[in-house]
């Protein structure tokens, strides 16, 4: 059972799916295809960033639900480090909420391909937490 509303249109357009979970956070997978390719044979950095973003959002949704919160989130910024070229393989990503406060959350997301311990990219995001207004 996926503890998150249906993946957003952007994630569906890139054929992302939640395939597993690690330490309670959803693992999101994205297949290689022309639509996510940058230079020939390699993933586009923006598509890798997209996978990191969806994994981060999935992790923070899960963490908020675990607290019984229905707050919405708003992204403030993101830094992405690209460590290895993304090849013609399935790519996975998982987010870790390193701190969930009342007003903001810090999330780290990691993307990998064949070896989970060899990340191809890391994303570091800050989100504002906003209580849902009535009506």
């Amino acid at each position: 059972m996926i503890d998150m509303p249906a993946l957003p249109p952007y994630a569906r357009a890139l054929d992302m799916k939640i395939v597993d979970e690690i330490d309670g956070a959803p693992v999101v997978a994205m297949p290689f295809a022309d639509r996510v390719q940058g230079r020939p044979g390699f993933l586009h950095g923006g598509a890798i960033s997209g996978l990191l973003e969806i994994a981060a959002i999935a992790a923070i949704h899960r963490a908020l639900r675990a607290k019984g919160s229905d707050s919405a989130i708003k992204q403030v910024n993101v830094t992405v480090d690209f460590m290895r070229g993304g090849l013609n393989h399935m790519t996975f990503a998982v987010g870790e909420v390193t701190r969930l406060g009342r007003t903001m959350a810090n999330v780290e997301a990691r993307a990998w391909q064949e070896d989970q311990h060899k990340p191809i990219a890391m994303g570091y995001m800050h989100y504002l937490i906003r209580a849902k207004r009535e009506g």
Partner: protein, 157 residues
Amino acid sequence: MAFGKPDLGSITPQGSSFDPALVNKMMGKFGHGGFLNMEYVGHGGDWVELAIDWREDLVADPETGILASAVIISLMDNATSMSIWTKLGEFRPQVTMDLRIDYLRPSPSGERVYGRGICYHLTNSIGFVRGFAHNGNPDEPLAHASGTFIRIGDRVA
């Protein structure tokens, strides 16, 4: 040269000027740039501006219609990457080392997003870039970007 089939070699030869409009015309047809339908808007000596039209399938939050953050990242990645080649006057193989985006405000649903990438310093190995995204008025940016690219190939330091 057959119309519609530009030869990449003729627009990125060593020592001659780099044409971001023509390069984007190709990059914008295939791969992720094609998926996002990235369009060339303009360029100067050290900058390139590209744009992406709002589209329902690029949305991260269906309630608000706000684009996925990564759409802006892709836009700034391509615009800043091309700003390096534009400043250099030629193509050189490179990859993004890191990229940071600060979102000053969301890009409204339905609005076209412009991304201007600027190369403010170049070394033999590294291109230092910054840039910003806006909805048509550069004086009202929606995001700021900064990052670095590293040259790859035979002369990486």
